[in-house]
């Protein structure tokens, strides 16, 4: 055995360096995992996380959401994002943990369709702001019954993943939104007795275009017709003042407001228990340990969905386990046998009424608002299941009116794809997404669109795909692309094909009409000449000439233009 060198590490010295890594520290170093890889994306991710939280909160509280998003430039590369909602507000004691502790939230531990899943987003945004500007996340929140609002400023202690409270005060505040006036009538600002406002300042970069906050909000409105939104951007304007000094006065932007198009909240999603086929081994061990049931049969039938008492007994028999066994003992020993038996047992598919879809009429309404479409249709598929998780696919397409506001579409460019997961727009990583793959996999030539091999079809068209699920399988924590589950790609394909078929009917009809129109104008061009010739030959009266034109037009249109 070689003698250990004085400088080389041994178990003791190594042990001194070994310590816990907090999640916060991990994500601080790997911020791209959360969608903060560059300043432009950071701004979008922050808006997205704040808006997601607000919408989830409003819907859970049964409130029609009204939100305002304000982006204010505070320095050359610094921006402050302020998102305000009319939600239920946050109880004072919870504020620090919600906004300054990673992996803290209400949504992770339950199987229920919601925008947020892990409880990382808004805290990560705050952490990013803190890291790049040293500022704190400022929260104003008011609950309906409270007299005053809380003003809390928090930072995150990245070592311990705990919040540090910098300011905690009470003040007179209520969320107030710009009014949406009628025709030329300036409306009164709308004030609510409850709501929350989050402001985060960070290093960022504001852009317009396909991967921008603007685009995100516009798509948000398509998928959330019940949302009333106000948006403005205040930018610094570079100017030279009288003394030749460069100054950068803040130019206040105009509020842009979108009225909600649906006055009803979406059907509230129902929380479900995990389906045995969607549970992995480790998860099953955990559930067996955590259960309140005393027997194996009990835990199977009570903590899982679609397992009746009889089915639970069948599973136990199949696994050769005692139905009355202590779940905790099973968890440590025979869990693998149990897991195998569960997966061999035929079970009913999980309940799918837990999903809340947008619905065909509202998709059509949303798309029509977004682009000037000559044809718009939507398909909502019946819910189905991947890996034990229910999911539902909705697809809408809007074919732009020629010459109309095409909404950034063109006849010879790939169609514009809008992807949504649980009503949240996905902007980045389109290429890696199951949605893109499914759309490319459809043969669009059948429906009258050109399509380069294996690519998106070409045409002045928007394809909108919404996937609703209790657990959307993203490829990463930044929630940008949906993983390629075959069940999911197949469902998207079916919905897209149905829309395609309807589009093709429309395009064919339009083609026929255009052809008829062309023929009509051709005929109409020559009929008067025919009549004029006859008139000259026969010295007809103008009235007779008119009769000739009328008769001819009717005869020719009857034979050639009946579509």
């Amino acid at each position: 055995m070689p003698r250990s060198n004085a400088s080389s590490a041994n178990a003791e010295t190594m042990a001194r360096q070994q310590r816990e890594i907090s999640v916060s520290e991990f994500f601080l170093k790997n911020r791209h995992l959360l969608g903060f890889d560059n300043p432009r994306k950071a701004l979008l991710t922050t808006v997205k996380e704040a808006v997601d939280n607000s919408l989830d909160a409003c819907e859970e509280a049964g409130l029609l959401p009204e939100l305002s998003v304000e982006i204010t430039q505070t320095g050359e590369k610094r921006f402050r994002v302020t998102v305000m909602d009319n939600g239920p507000g946050v109880v004072r004691a919870q504020v620090p943990r919600i906004f300054a502790k990673l992996l803290y939230g209400s949504k992770f531990h339950r199987l229920r369709m919601s925008r947020g899943q892990q409880g990382i987003g808004i805290s990560a945004a705050g952490m990013y702001g803190q890291l790049t500007t040293g500022t704190a996340t400022r929260i104003l929140s008011k609950v309906p019954r409270g007299k005053l609002a809380h003003h809390i400023e928090v930072q995150i202690d990245t070592r311990k993943n705990t919040p540090t409270i910098l300011k905690d005060a009470e003040l007179e505040w209520a969320p107030s939104f710009p009014g949406i006036g009628g025709e030329g009538v300036p409306a009164e600002p709308r004030v609510y007795s409850h709501g929350t406002s989050v402001a985060i300042e960070m290093e960022a970069h504001y852009v317009r275009g396909r991967l921008s906050v603007d685009e995100y909000l516009r798509q948000c409105l398509v998928a959330n017709p019940h949302l009333q939104l106000h948006y403005r951007v205040n930018l610094l304007d570079k100017e030279i003042d009288n003394e030749g000094q460069a100054t950068t006065p803040l130019v206040e932007g105009q509020w842009v407001s979108w009225k909600r198009t649906a006055e009803a909240l979406p059907k509230p999603p129902v929380e479900i228990k995990p389906h045995p086929h969607g549970v992995e081994l480790g998860m099953m061990m955990q559930m067996l340990r955590d259960t309140e049931s005393r027997t194996l049969r009990g835990v199977l039938s009570e903590d899982f969905s679609r397992v009746s008492s009889q089915t639970a007994l069948d599973i136990c028999t199949r696994a050769g386990l005692d139905a009355k066994a202590n779940p905790r003992r099973i968890a440590s020993r025979e869990v693998e046998t149990l897991y195998k038996a569960v997966n061999e047992t035929k079970l009913m598919r999980p309940p799918t009424d837990c999903l809340s879809c947008i619905g065909e009429p509202l998709i059509v309404a949303g798309l029509s608002k977004e682009i000037d479409a000559e044809f718009c249709t939507a398909v909502t598929r019946d819910p189905t299941v991947y890996r034990g998780n229910p999911f539902q696919v909705e697809v809408g397409i809007a074919y732009a009116r020629p010459g109309g506001g095409g909404g950034e579409t063109a006849a010879d460019e790939p169609v514009r794809v809008m992807r949504f997961a649980n009503r949240v727009p996905l902007l980045y990583m389109a290429g890696a997404c199951a949605v893109t793959k499914a759309i490319c996999g459809v043969n669009w030539k059948n429906y009258g669109l050109a399509q380069p091999r294996g690519s998106l079809p070409l045409g002045p068209m928007v394809v909108m795909v919404h996937i609703a699920s209790v657990w959307v399988p993203f490829t990463s924590e930044s929630k940008e692309a949906i993983a390629h589950y075959p069940e999911m790609i197949r469902e998207i394909g079916f919905a897209v094909q149905e829309c395609g078929r309807r589009l093709s009917v429309h395009l064919h009809r339009r083609h026929r009409e255009a052809e008829a129109e062309r023929k009509r104008s051709y005929i109409e061009k020559y009929i008067p000449h025919l009549a004029l010739g006859l008139k000259d030959v026969l010295n007809l009266t103008d009235r007779d000439e008119g009769r000739v034109v009328d008769h001819l037009r009717r005869m020719l249109e009857r034979t050639h233009l009946e579509v």
């Binding site: 023929k519 051709y522 020559y526 009929i527 000449h529 010739g533 030959v537 026969l538 000739v548 050639h560």
Partner: protein, 383 residues
């Protein structure tokens, strides 16, 4: 008896060809009336009927001596596809009636084409469009386009020899006499309309020549004095005026007609055949535009051998071979005459064609010193 028949036919031809413009005008009105009645009274799509003008719709009867049109007609019914042509036909009829017949004016085919430019989107884009419609109209009305007032653009042909043409000044009616033997080195041009001409001649026959260069040589050496014949140059396929002139002269003076063309399928089947019996294209008027008394002098395939021209020939080209084979299969005139079939088959077998000028091989004037006198003396012509 034969003379009487010819005279009567001439009178009839005169009558039809000179049928009054008012008469043609009336026929146009009839066509228009039919179309109008179809549209307004009978509530159906109007249609126009034309005789089909092609070799498939003619028959050859050596007794009458020309291609006679058979009954086949084409109907153009108004539809999406024909509406433009239909409208153009109507406007063309109207223009013809109003501007030409009623005003006693004339117009060239190209002028008609340009005239249509004032019709807006109904105008003719290319002249062939208006030419086709003119031909259709001519056939539909059963008249000859010169009657309607359309003058052909092409030259009618040149005449020289012992012939005096009696013409009249169009405005005064004063008699003008043209002696075609006293034109020096030049020739007299056949006018577009020949019906009013009268002839005085002591010629023995008419010699019709394809190329004008050979015509020039014969005129230069005053061959017509030696042979006592009227020389006429066609410059290719003879125009209607040229055909009608030869016919009238031959009928009037009772002269035989000899035709001298290049020795190739085009010379036989297009130039000579058209001159003698008319064409498929103008089938409806062939009876006036044919020269049944014509005979073919040369150059025949046998002449190539008899006059030792083998080394002055050109190989037959694909188009020549195709033309000869087509004629053997489809041309009613060729199919009627065994001699012509033999001649064409002989030519195909030899695989060569020969031009009129080839005789220059034996000396520039060999053609008029030896060839023509020899052929005329032997008098063995093709029908």
């Amino acid at each position: 008896m034969a003379g009487k028949r010819k005279t009567r036919e001439r009178d009839e031809g005169e009558a039809v060809l000179l049928s009054s413009r008012a008469d043609v005008s009336r026929r146009i009105v009839d066509v228009g009336r039919g179309v109008f009645e179809d549209i307004v009274r009978r509530m159906r799509k109007p249609s126009l009927r034309f005789p089909i003008r092609a070799l498939t719709n003619v028959k050859y009867d050596p007794k009458t001596g020309y291609f006679e049109i058979r009954g086949k007609t084409a109907t153009r019914t108004l539809s999406y596809n024909t509406v433009k042509t239909f409208a153009q036909s109507m406007r063309l009829l109207a223009t013809t009636k109003k501007d030409l017949l009623d005003k006693n004016d004339i117009a060239g085919k190209r002028e008609i084409y340009y005239n249509s430019k004032s019709w807006g989107e109904c105008r003719f884009d290319e002249q062939p469009e208006s030419d086709t419609l003119l031909d259709d109209m001519e056939a539909m009305l059963g008249v000859n386009r010169e009657q309607i007032g359309y003058i052909p653009e092409e030259r009618g042909g040149d005449v020289a020899g012992p012939l005096t043409v009696v013409d009249r000044n169009p405005s005064t009616g004063e008699v003008i006499r043209i002696n075609c033997a006293k034109l020096g080195t030049g020739a007299w041009s056949i006018p577009a309309r020949v019906e009013h001409l009268e002839f005085e001649s002591d010629a023995r026959f008419i010699l019709v020549i394809e190329t004008s260069s050979l015509f020039q040589r014969l005129v230069h050496h005053r061959y017509y004095e030696k042979a006592k014949c009227v020389l006429i140059s066609m410059s290719g396929v003879p125009t209607r005026a040229c055909r009608r002139f030869i016919r009238r002269l031959a009928d009037d003076r009772k002269l035989p007609v000899l035709v001298f063309t290049d020795g190739d399928p085009y010379g036989y089947c297009n130039i000579y055949r058209t001159l003698k019996v008319g064409s498929g294209q103008a089938a409806h008027i062939n009876r006036f535009f044919c020269v049944p008394q014509a005979h073919y002098l040369g150059v025949t395939p046998q002449d190539i051998i008899d006059y030792k021209l083998m080394d002055a020939t050109h190989p037959l080209e694909d188009v020549d071979i195709k033309r000869a084979k087509d004629a053997l299969r489809n041309d009613p005139f060729i199919r009627h005459h065994k001699e012509w079939q033999d001649a064409l088959n002989q030519m195909l077998k030899m695989g060569v064609r020969v031009e009129q000028q080839a005789f220059a091989k034996h000396g520039l004037n060999y053609v008029l010193d030896s060839y023509l006198p020899d052929k005329i003396r032997k008098a063995r012509f093709l029908p």
